[in-house]
Symmetry: C3
Subunit: 489 residues, 3 copies
């Protein structure tokens, strides 16, 4: 027994080896080949992107014009979401002074893998044709696949700088899988509405990342403290991420809502909530400093809380001022989180959360879920109309008899399911990632691109300083010489 312990101790405590020359190519190749095989077996074009099916569908459904193809309803939103996933999330994670390559590069890698796996997982759960055994994909599938990746990219935020790309691939593999399952439970079984994913994306992704990070706690992380911060220009790169997320969040929340009134309403609500978040995030940030100075961390993150919190309610009739109130509160809560909760969690719960996803995704996502529940519970025919109520909440088929009140209950239950999946799933994945085979860096080697990237030598020649230095050398030599002469004399 003692031997076993020792043996395990040696195994888990052995010198960190960050060489991923075998594991990273192996994971990329094998998983990509698996994708090709599974796509070959399962994935087909849907009736809006297959030429034969579309021509038949147009006839049978009596569609008069090609503009009725779902592509024209959703493609602009899809592209906005795509930008959020790759530029938004990617650049948001470039704020560290020497981890920008990894921030944007690993985000790129895992999203490119995740969206393929998501098409399969979501396809199996939501649109597997029982007759042909195939999955039909269209533009809406691509949006959903991007959404599904977002869960894992959020989790990456908590782990930023502390894990290897191979570990991130594992996080994504399980993250996408868990996502598809919890999404199936929440949207299909509980019949919740969650167009912008407050529950299924943000609450799940946030708690998933936090749970993994908790399991992977590094007691000596302070050894990498000097690199766990930003420089002037890395903060500017992060602002690119922030702004593209902020600007396109209305598209995120409206991308898969109902055609017609649903999309504009979701866009308007999100637009307003985000604007409101900016003002309260700035206010709290300024209040928190002796001289009223603003902190880039808050501007980069807490301004987005309103978008996260509107993920569920955006498509409901929350009213414009309701949206402003949600943004108002979440801007405050999120900034407070960065000021007090993250340091507190690190100190007491041993929870290291590099990007503060607790304050940007986990808590606002959870709140967004409950806001959605409340708004749903108070829905009524006066506001929605009889037909509208059915239309917005899909009270059809098995769910024809549901009332708004019941729906509110189910929405709240859905939020809890998302959080539970995040915490439990993250815990298990964290344990898997503790195996010492994944190439993660040592505690004194975190937040450093140099571990996984060929970083260019920084000979950024700064002419005046250099000249000045040269000048000094000359003076120096003069001194040395004169000095020498003194010695000689």
């Amino acid at each position: 027994m003692g031997n076993l312990c020792e043996c395990l101790g040696n195994f888990f405590g052995r010198q960190k080896n960050t060489n991923v020359r075998v594991s990273l190519p192996a994971v990329c190749f094998i998983w990509q080949i698996a994708m090709i095989i599974l796509f070959g077996i399962f994935i087909r074009y849907d009736e809006e992107s297959d030429v034969k099916k579309w021509l038949e569908h147009k006839k049978s459904a009596n569609i008069s014009s090609n503009i009725e193809n779902d592509f024209y309803f959703r493609y602009p939103s899809f592209q906005d979401v795509h930008v959020m996933i790759f530029v938004g999330f990617g650049f948001l994670m470039t704020f560290l002074k020497r981890y920008s390559f990894s921030g944007v590069g690993f985000n790129f890698l895992i999203a490119a893998f995740g969206l393929q796996w998501a098409l399969l997982m979501q396809g199996w759960f939501h649109s597997l044709d029982p007759v042909t055994g195939t999955i039909s994909i269209g533009i809406e599938s691509l949006i959903n696949a991007d959404f599904c990746c977002a869960g894992s990219l959020i989790a990456m935020g908590a782990l930023l700088g502390k894990v290897s790309p191979v570990q991130l691939m594992v996080v994504t593999l399980f993250g996408v899988t868990l996502f598809a399952v919890e999404e199936y439970i929440i949207l299909d079984l509980l019949h919740c509405r969650d167009a912008g994913g407050s529950m299924v994306i943000h609450a799940f992704g946030g708690y998933y990342g936090l749970a993994i990070s908790w399991v992977l706690y590094r007691p000596k992380l302070h050894q990498s403290k000097s690199l766990n911060g930003s420089v002037y220009h890395s903060d500017m790169f992060a602002m690119i991420g922030t702004l593209f997320l902020w600007m396109f969040w209305p598209s995120f929340n409206s991308a898969i809502t109902d055609h017609g009134d649903g999309q504009p309403r979701a866009a308007i609500n999100t637009y307003l909530a985000l604007a409101s978040s900016v003002l309260t995030a700035v206010a709290i940030s300024s209040l928190s400093q002796k001289k009223g100075k603003l902190d880039m961390v808050h501007i980069q993150n807490a301004t987005l809380a309103g978008g996260v919190a509107m993920g569920t309610a955006a498509e409901f009739m929350i009213t414009p001022y309701g949206s402003l109130i949600v943004g108002f509160c979440c801007g405050i809560i999120s900034t407070f989180g960065y000021l007090f909760v993250t340091p507190f969690l690190e100190k007491t719960l041993k929870l290291q959360d590099t990007c503060g996803i607790h304050n940007l995704h986990a808590v606002p996502g959870m709140l967004g879920g409950f806001v959605g529940a409340i708004v749903a519970a108070f829905a009524n025919e006066d506001v929605y109309g009889k037909e509208g109520l059915k239309h917005v909440f899909d009270f059809e088929g098995d769910f024809a008899n549901r009332t708004p009140g019941t729906q509110g209950g189910f929405q709240a239950a859905g939020t809890c399911v998302a959080i539970a999946f995040g915490i439990v799933g993250g815990g298990v994945v964290g344990l898997i990632l503790r195996f010492p085979i994944w190439g993660d860096p040592a505690d004194d080697n975190c937040f450093d691109d140099d571990v996984y990237w060929e970083v260019p030598e920084e000979e950024e020649i700064i002419p005046p300083v250099l000249e000045y230095n040269n000048h000094m050398i000359h003076k120096h030599q003069d001194i040395s010489e004169s000095n020498f002469s003194v010695e000689q004399s």
Copy 2:
């Protein structure tokens, strides 16, 4: 009397205090709460984004498909405009070496506030329902709100580096208010057409900012001269702003033009004028330097002049080569402005214009207004068709008898109204901003993020230099020691 003077002198001349810890949070909180209350009273969804109204509207207007919802006509343009406001204007103002946080951050703050206030102000003037006393908002309202912010963001360009965020909020509060009034006069009373806002946005915003800057003249601004310039990477960040403005300007000018032919025509005209501006801006920039070297200031700004100048005429039948001519001239004029007019204005008129908005917005906007007037005056049934003339110029209702010639006159009058509002409004706002309560920086403290931001310590480790320095230290010590020994000996 003497006492009063002295007292006032002391009041206005007292030591600058840049602490905004009370004022900034107060402004953000109070104004945001005011927005929530006013939105609660006035703002409702319009018939295209309210589920009940949309279902009724579809029936009553006999709309066959959801794709007829205005959302699908305008949303892609809206998102492009949104990018221009937040990334375009924001990053264009990051060119200063140590004011990038403020450039992009304050732009973010005031646009987020401005768009809310704009929805209210524009709503009251343009779409207040006399029966219910409410304002209905939809996607077009969001575009107009973004446009309305643009006026104040332009003004910010003249003030960049010299004012506090609280002052910028005040600039925006009044800017949006003035904008709504002048827009009402120009578009509703004078019945001008100004889809891309040469008059209402650029001429107004430009002169508004210049007037404020003139009143806030800082005689000792040269004390901050060392920070009033760019570095290599800050110029690159500014190019992000330039390019997103340049690329999306066709969307800006076509965002709220007529469905059908109006939007593509406005996009094509703007696209051509912008392309033409680039070539002449490059030509003049190269001509102006001894060795033909290009100046980033011109490339970042004057290349955009064609888009500004097409703001009014883009939706008219100005012809493709007409658009090229407008761009050709404005590229030249704008670059000349940067070379000669801005220095002249600073020297003789005491007008400090950090971003040169005089050359990018004020003058091209004014010219755009007059170009629009000329093109309108020469409109005729041969080119537009009888129905088309009515359609493009809205010669309907009270204005059914207007001729193109008259319309041209009104367009020219509209341009003058915009300029007058800018100058007079800016003068008054400038006086308000001279009160020494707003936390603006001292003359030797301008263009510095450090005043309002927690700026990260710049320990961007440059390995070879550092090593070299260490090396020097050692040599140094050797010297000191040897030196010491000499002294001893």
Copy 3:
């Protein structure tokens, strides 16, 4: 004869003069004026952007709604393509440490000229009205003009850092001209399909640039070696270019495909191929380094190979897994190219290819052409349906009797035509560019913005270092003084 040789030798070998103060403004002005004149003669609005024609067209074609205007089918894709041309290509070429201004600035200049010239050239070849002698332009023309520029921008990649802006204008003038001719041969005479331009854009542009670069071989380029590399932040700027290209490539390949099923299919196929490229590019990049470290050059470029290679086949029924396979292979081939082929070409063929367009455009473009040929050859009625086959391959009019097999042959022939035009055209243009009148830099002066730009002095004040230096100065002085005293004593 000997005299002539000597004379020519002197002429071609004379001291490089990089002053473009005459040539650059002259080229910009004269060519822009020529554009205005030619636009005045030839270019008109088409029936979807001319108010009179649109109102008539709506009536005659019985169009019920303005949403049927082509603008609403293509404008979102157009804007995405526009971003790729200006931000995508522009920022991709900012990776060099001191050539970022030129990378993004010259790209801006030549694309702004190229798109005007492309509207004329493509108009003359594709849509010159034989009756009126005019060319009608609409949104699709703008997309095609942007595409046409892409060919020359690709060529710029091979020449980056080694040529003057005047030479780039010449490259664009001829590049656009050659493009229009080869496109006419490939699309109209051979009746190939090439919606995303694997052949006409990438294979042509790639070989065009390589041929020019080969003719302009600089044997002493190693003298500029110190500037032919990246620094940390220039690599980050390049990632902006990479990501915007990567994200919007689905729009690139679907922008001008058929309304209805064609656009979503092209978008889906491209989306999948790109995702697949990322994984294999990462895998090979990691494999190639001793410690499995990733190389930014591969991530910035090879990840895009899947999009290039899907340019032809994206609109066909290549199947989702077929797209993944194409991306899989091209990610590998492209990364191998950067590792082995580019160094090999430089050593043996004397081919200097700054951005490695051989691996990103030439080879994947050629492969994409052949992939398209194969997919076309295997098309059949089972998959496409009878009507669909006609629809996708335009088997109408003169080409009504073509079979998929024949079509495949023509597609392959088209690829060869594109390559031939690139190599021969590039050779001739290269010879023209060897005349010593264009202001190109000397071999020891390449890759340096300082030649063509007013570069800001880099006094980026780094506080701690500065303080430290000041400290040193003081210490220094102490020494000097003490030293002096020693000497005195």
